[in-house]
């Protein structure tokens, strides 16, 4: 009986510790992260690198602070172009919901599995999409197709009878 009770207690503890949604960090990782310094305790270099996060820093969980401090450590090894991109996207990234960040990470891992040709095609597609107007973007989301460029529109085989009616 005692063994069974211990087994059940262990299972419950395991379930409680692992019962976090995929968007949230695991409970064990949250508990295991020691307290991280507040904004005023950061070094000057860390403050310069993490400047876009200054207003959010003191409200961040320890686990996110530690991650950003890790990125700040990697920062000097990045190219100037990459450094500019990271700093430009930092604030926007931090303001996303945990679910959006988790989704983006999953998609990015999937993206990295693609062949170079597919990656290039995807980038070109994104380039086209990002230049669309908001209305056209909504249309793409609904139809899952890029609108045809104006120059490529040809006279359809069947004349648009309904649109001609009002005239």
């Amino acid at each position: 009986m005692a063994k069974n009770r211990r087994l059940i207690a262990g299972l419950i503890l395991g379930l409680v510790l692992s019962s976090t949604s995929l968007a949230q960090p695991p409970t064990t990782a949250i508990i295991g992260t020691p307290p991280q310094p507040g904004w005023s305790l950061l070094s000057t270099q860390q403050k310069i690198i993490l400047a876009p996060l200054a207003s959010d820093w003191d409200n961040m969980e320890n686990i996110r602070r530690k991650k950003w401090l890790g990125i700040a450590e990697r920062f000097p090894k990045m190219s100037p172009t990459d450094q500019a991109k990271v700093q430009e996207r930092m604030h926007e990234w931090a303001s996303l919901t945990p679910a959006q960040r988790a989704k983006a990470r999953d998609s990015y891992k999937e993206f990295n599995q693609l062949t170079p040709e597919k990656k290039q095609a995807l980038k070109e597609k994104w380039e086209t999409y990002s230049n669309l107007s908001e209305e056209e973007k909504q249309q793409v989301k609904q139809t899952k197709k890029l609108p045809r460029p104006a120059t490529s529109t040809t006279t359809p085989a069947n004349p648009p009878a309904e649109t001609a009616k009002p005239q």
Partner: protein, 133 residues
């Protein structure tokens, strides 16, 4: 059964014999009994692992002023908690390293994060539109 009867007879014989023991022999027996009991007491702290470890001296810990009640249990719980926290710490280091690596690559990629966090858009981006409808 025979053994029990035999033991009972010996006990009775000893009890009758008590009256005939000389005072000197009685004192020697008493001294021997005290000595045996004192040696038996010394064995207890050796088994008290936590008490011995906390004080550095088993027998003194059980009798001295620094005796901690439930020391063994407290020590076991503390060891368990420290072990659990170390395990959680290690897990957090691994988890943070992993997301740190992904985030730094994602934020410095040619594609912006918007391309990845919208499920519909990313699925659409992955599809090959080159084939005719």
């Amino acid at each position: 059964m025979n053994e029990e009867r035999y033991a009972s007879r010996i006990r009775q014989a000893l009890n009758y014999g008590l009256n005939d023991i000389s005072p000197i022999a009685a004192r020697r027996l008493e001294a021997a009994r005290h000595l045996a009991l004192s040696k038996q007491k010394q064995k207890v702290p050796v088994l008290a692992l936590a008490g011995g470890l906390l004080s550095g001296n088993g027998s003194a810990a059980m009798r001295g002023p620094f005796h901690i009640p439930y020391a063994r249990q407290i020590f076991a719980v503390l060891a368990l908690l420290v072990g659990m926290w170390l395990s959680f710490y290690w897990h957090s280091v691994q988890y943070i390293n992993q997301i740190e690596e992904v985030d730094s690559a994602l934020l410095s990629d040619d594609l912006p994060p918007e391309a990845f966090f919208d499920d519909d858009i990313f699925e659409w981006l992955k599809t090959d539109d080159s084939s005719p409808d």
